[in-house]
């Protein structure tokens, strides 16, 4: 992929803070961590759309808000259509003179519930229409806001309050669905790789049309790990291959480091067990007599996914 935006250093990031002091998020919450980087890449001339999620529950009570940009807190299935509505309204007003200046960047900040499940129709339709905004899915792999119920992004075996014996089915892969919709830009990202995430947000901002970025967002209360370990969990997910870093433009896929090196066998994957054993949601597996078989099955799924993506990259 030819990158006009690359080799970003931490020192290059602007001082601008989208998330003000006083967010109501849990200690170690990945949402404000991710939004801080988004804010630095997009700047203050932005409009954010949110649907019910932890990021809304932690915004503060009216008239206060912990976010520096204007926010539309809309209904659960509305993100795709509402962001499209704002973006087109801005276009029309800039054309008829009701507004002047540079068009603000319209972006959504929506969880995996609002993306994978209840909001999927609207997101997929906005992608198909090529509406001009960035959809961010911060994927904490469950409905954390309502007390950790399963979502379409919950991985197999994970315990949630609605899968008390562990989830039986595999998760969906919405970023891949977006790639196959041939959208202008799609990327996955990780909190443990902030420069990669920052670069991807900047790239999305530079492209007209529909862009999709999914941030892997380990959730301490949901996955049951120490609040100090959010970034470490994000790192282990990438290094074990449980979360893959890649980006795509109009259906052309590029695997990013270190996923590319891991998939090609140029670098060994971290032991999956190191990632799993930090999470209470997999404790029943770790204590079980089926532990070895379950871990083997998960590794096999990771290998299958990596092989698929290597093959997909050649298309």
């Amino acid at each position: 992929m030819s990158d006009t935006i690359k080799n970003v250093k931490l020192a290059d990031m602007p001082a601008y803070e989208l998330v003000k002091a006083g967010t109501g998020g849990c200690a170690g919450c990945p949402s404000p961590m991710g939004l801080r980087i988004v804010g630095k890449a997009l700047g203050p001339n932005s409009i954010m759309v949110m649907t019910p999620s932890c990021a809304v529950a932690s915004i503060g009570v009216m008239p206060k808000s912990c976010y520096d940009v204007p926010v539309l807190n809309v209904c659960f299935a509305s993100a795709g259509a509402s962001a499209a509505g704002i973006s087109m309204s801005l276009d029309a007003q800039l054309k008829n003179g009701a507004l002047s200046g540079e068009k603000p960047t319209v972006f959504t900040w929506v969880g995996d519930g609002g993306t994978y499940d209840i909001g999927f129709q609207g997101i997929s339709a906005a992608a198909e229409r090529n509406d001009d905004f960035i959809h961010f899915c911060y994927n904490n792999e469950a409905y954390s806001n309502t007390g950790v119920q399963r979502s379409g992004a919950t991985p197999k075996y994970a315990v949630t309050t609605t899968t008390p014996a562990g989830k039986e089915s595999q998760k969906k892969n919405v970023p891949l669905l977006m790639l196959e919709q041939r959208i202008a830009y799609v990327a996955t990202a990780s909190l443990a790789y902030p420069l990669d995430f920052y670069r991807k947000v900047q790239k999305a901002k530079s492209i007209q049309g529909f862009k999709y970025i999914e941030l892997h967002a380990p959730c301490g209360p949901g996955w049951k790990f120490a609040s100090s370990d959010t970034v470490e969990l994000a790192r282990l997910a990438v290094k074990s291959g449980a979360w893959l870093l890649w980006e795509g433009e109009h259906g052309k896929l590029t695997l990013n480091a270190p996923t590319k090196q891991l998939a090609e066998g140029k670098m060994p994957c971290a032991e999956l067990e190191e990632y799993l054993k930090l999470q209470g949601r997999f404790a029943h597996i770790m204590k079980s007599t089926e532990k070895a078989a379950a871990i083997e099955a998960m590794k096999s799924e990771i290998r299958r996914e990596m092989d698929f993506m290597l093959g997909r990259e050649k298309l």
């Binding site: 409009i47 204007p70 795709g80 704002i86 029309a92 507004l99 609207g122």
Partner: protein, 375 residues
């Protein structure tokens, strides 16, 4: 001003174009579809001042127009029946957000079983979503009410639904007169809200509110909805001064001065009711047609003023209020007149459900039966 013979949906689309709407989102549903198609044609021909977004569901339609309205655009959409029901969640969001969206709802029965024809179950079941609700009895009234609805909605910051009967008005060909653009522009200036969802204004929209702030917002909406009645009366008069056209304020009563029997209905039935009133007059009954033009806010005060002592009010509903003997209008009329004057007698009937034809002869017959029951 030019006279034309066309459908009710064409009258609607022509008025939306003349109202210089900035943003339209649409999703097809019978019998509304031809409005969305005509607006798409206008957009493709470059005749619309605004933009047109063809979305994938009615839930997304209302999500898009609500967001575009918050961003500062004059917005429009149209729907019917199941589409209106599918929007329900966002109807509450739009009124709570004080977004002056205007929407045409081409009334159609709701399923199950499936039925494509006119009744008011779709809009009546959205009664408590906080929207203004107009009903039209003719193509001319559809055309003129679009401008009135924008004027009022933007003044009181409450969204407005314009209802008219599927097929009976949406697809029938009737003559109506359009308006010169400069007259439309005199009545309806461009939408320039005092706040927009935009970094230049700042702030958030639809944030989490504590109980005290939440109830203050919602109580204010309830009070402002009641106050909208006076604004509707005033703007209907202003429109009359400018154009000479009059379809009533909150209600329309035009019959004999000494009338003591009032036939109350809304939608296309109210046009047919004119003939029923004449038939009753020919029998020596001092009957008057009482057309409900605005269902939300309910025209309680207008009704109290229109009815003399000892009046007999016959209420004809094209909807069913399940668990109640009649329909929504009957229930509301009784509520509005309770304790006002116990000499006023009220009776009612629900009919025309699923688009069953309501000729004047049938309405006359039903009116006589209701009068008999009041004896």
């Amino acid at each position: 001003m030019s006279k034309r013979m066309d459908t009710g949906n064409s009258a609607c689309a022509l008025a939306v174009k003349a109202a210089k709407v900035d943003f339209i989102a649409a999703y097809p549903i019978t019998p509304q579809t031809s409005i969305s198609e005509k607006l798409a044609d206008y957009a493709a021909a470059g005749e619309l001042s605004g933009v047109y977004l063809p979305v994938e569901s009615e839930h997304s339609v209302m999500s898009a127009v609500a967001a575009a309205s918050a961003a500062g655009s004059r917005t429009f959409t149209a729907t019917s029946s199941q589409g209106l029901l599918y929007m329900h969640e966002i109807l509450h969001y739009a009124s709570g957000g004080r977004l002056p969206i205007v929407m045409a709802n081409v009334n159609r029965a709701v399923c199950a079983p499936w039925c494509l024809y006119a009744d008011h179950q779709d809009s009546v079941s959205q009664r408590d979503t906080g929207w203004l609700q107009f009903h039209c009895a003719s193509h001319q009234e559809i055309y003129d009410t679009i401008f009135l609805a924008y004027k009022v909605a933007e003044k009181v910051k409450i969204p407005a639904m314009i209802n008219y009967d599927g097929f009976l008005l949406s697809h029938s060909m009737l003559s109506f007169e359009t308006l010169e653009q400069d007259l439309v522009d005199q009545f309806l200036t461009p939408y320039r809200p005092d706040w927009k969802l935009h970094p230049q204004w700042g702030g958030t929209f639809g944030n989490v509110a504590a109980a005290a702030e939440y109830s203050a917002y919602r109580n204010t909406l309830a009070e402002d909805t009641l106050k909208a009645a006076a604004v509707i009366e005033e703007e209907a008069r202003n429109y009359q001064k400018l154009t000479g056209r009059w379809h009533g304020g909150m209600i329309d009563v035009q019959g004999p001065e000494d009338a003591d029997v009032f036939l109350m209905s809304m939608g296309s039935m109210a046009a047919e009711m004119e003939l029923a009133a004449e038939a009753l007059q020919a029998m020596g009954i001092k009957a008057d047609n009482l057309k409900v033009r605005v269902y939300r806010p309910f025209p309680a005060e207008a009704l109290r003023q229109a009815l003399p002592a000892h009046a007999k009010l016959l209420v004809f509903d094209r909807n069913l209020a399940y668990g109640h003997e009649g329909g929504a209008l009957l229930m509301e009329a009784r509520s509005a007149l309770y304790n006002r004057d116990e000499t006023v007698k009220i009776a009612g009937i629900s009919l025309g459900i699923g688009g069953i034809d309501l000729p004047a002869s049938l309405l006359t017959e039903k009116a006589l039966a209701l009068l008999e029951g009041l004896k």
